[in-house]
Amino acid sequence: MDPQHVISSGIIELYTAGIASEKEIKELEAAMAQFPEVAAEVAAYQRAMEAYVQMQSLTPDPQAKSFVFSNLNNQTIMQENTLTPDPSAPIVSIERPKGARWKWIASVAAVLLLFSLVLNYVFFNRYKIFKEYKDKYESLLLSQNSILSKSNLYKARLEQMQESMNVIQDPKVLKVTMPGTKAFPTALATVFWNRESQQVYLKVNNLPEPAADKQYQLWAIVDGKPVDMGVFEMGDTVNLLQKMKITGKAQMFAVTLEKKGGAASPTMEQMYVAGKIPG
C-alpha cells in the first residue's frame, strides 16, 4: 500500500463525512496504523470537521448536568454489580435460586426434547405410510389414464368401423371391385358408390406404399373422360373406407400413382387398378 495513493484516493474525505464503506474503513485504519502521514492527514480532516461541529455548539438544559452527575454513582454501582459479585452479599441465597432456575429450565428442555422425539417418530412413521399410499395412488392414476386413452382409441375405431359398415350395408350403395392392371396384377381396391347421394368411397385392399413425394389418385371415367375423384392416404387409413368426391355418372373407376397432391389428368402408365361398373 502506498501512503500517497491512500491520501489522494478520496477515501479520507468519505471517512470524515461518515459514508465510507466498511471495507474502506478497514483499509484506511490499517493504512493509518502503518503510515504516520496517513494518520496525520485523517486527523487534519477530522479537526476541520470538528471545528465545523464546534461552531454549531448549543447550550444544553442546565438540569441535564445535574441529572448526569446524580446518576453517575447509580450507574457505577449497577456497573460494578454486573461485573463483579458483591462480596458482602450472601452467596448461598444468590446461588440457590439461580441453580434451581437452571435445573427447572433443563428439566423442561429435557421433557420438550423427549416429547419432540416421540412426535418425530410418530410423524415419521405416518409419513412413511403416507408415502407408500401416495406411490400406489400415483401408479393407479397412471394406469387409469392409460386405460382411458386406450378406451378412447377403441371407441374412435369402433365409430369409424360403424360408419364403414353403414356405407357398405346401404342397399343404394354399389360395390365396384377394381382388380390390378397388367403392370400391377396383385393390386386391388374397391369403390363404394352411393348412387343416390352420388358419394364415392374407396377401400384399399392391396396397394404398395408409395414414395414420400407420390400419392394415389382415384379417377372416375365419365363418357370416356377421366374425372378427378381426389387423392387418398395410405398407411393406417387403408383399413377404413375413405370418403372421396361425388359423381353422378361413371362407367369406370381407376387409381393411378401421381405426384403428391394429385394431377390434372391421369398418368396411364402408372395405373394400378381399374374396375368397370357392372351392368
Binding site: A48, A51, Y52, V53, Q54, L58, Q75
Partner: protein
C-alpha cells in the same frame, strides 16, 4: 481550542479513566455544548436531545476505559459516541413515531426538509464558513455526518447518481477543510 488553562488533554484523560468527578465536571462543561449541538442537529428536537446528551455523558463515564488515546483525541471519541447515540435514536421506531407529524411522507425527504430549514447559527466564524460552502455542500455534509445517511440514501434524497455523491462529498469536505484552515478558527 478544547484545551484549557487548567487541564491539558492528557490530564483530562487521566482524570476520566480515574473516574474523577471534578475532572468529569470540567469535561462536561467543556464539551457538552458541542455534543449537544450535534445531537440537536441530528434529532431536531431539543427535548429528546437533552435526554440523549445525558445518556451520552453516562456512557462516556462508564466506557472511559475503552478510550484509546493512540487512536485519536478525546473529543473525537466523545463526538463519535454522541453522533452514534443520536443517529440510533433518529433511526429508532419510537422516535419516528413521535415525530410522525413531520415524517408523514417519505421520511428521508422529511430529513432533507429539516436540514434546509434549520436556522443559521450565529456562532463566531460560522457564518463565514457557511457563506463559502454552497447550500448543496452543506446538505451533503449534514446528511452524511449528522443524519448518518449512507451514500445510497444521499443519492436518493438529493436525486443524484451514486458516483456523483462521492465526487461532490469529496469536494465539500475538501472545501470545508480549506475554509477552516484559511480562516484560522
Amino acid at each position: 481550542m478544547e484545551s484549557t488553562a487548567t487541564y491539558s488533554e492528557a490530564e483530562l484523560v487521566r482524570g476520566l479513566t480515574a473516574r474523577d468527578e471534578k475532572v468529569f465536571s470540567h469535561i462536561y462543561d467543556l464539551y457538552s455544548p458541542a455534543l449537544f449541538g450535534v445531537i440537536v442537529k441530528t434529532l431536531n428536537d431539543t427535548g429528546a436531545a437533552n435526554d440523549v446528551l445525558q445518556e451520552v455523558f453516562l456512557k462516556i463515564w462508564r466506557n472511559a476505559d475503552s478510550y484509546d488515546p493512540s487512536k485519536g483525541r478525546l473529543f473525537t471519541w466523545m463526538l463519535n459516541i454522541a453522533r452514534n447515540a443520536a443517529i440510533d435514536v433518529l433511526r429508532s421506531k419510537s422516535f419516528k413515531q413521535e415525530q410522525k407529524t413531520s415524517y408523514n411522507t417519505d421520511e428521508l425527504y422529511a430529513i432533507k426538509g429539516i436540514i434546509t430549514e434549520q436556522p443559521g447559527n450565529e456562532h463566531l466564524g460560522f457564518s463565514k464558513v457557511l457563506e463559502k460552502l454552497t447550500k448543496e455542500q452543506r446538505t451533503l455534509i449534514d446528511l452524511a455526518y449528522y443524519k448518518g445517511c449512507t451514500q445510497e440514501e444521499i443519492a436518493r434524497i438529493m436525486d443524484i447518481p451514486l458516483g456523483t455523491v462521492k465526487t461532490r462529498m469529496r469536494n465539500a469536505i475538501n472545501q470545508l477543510r480549506t475554509i477552516i484552515n484559511t480562516s484560522n478558527i
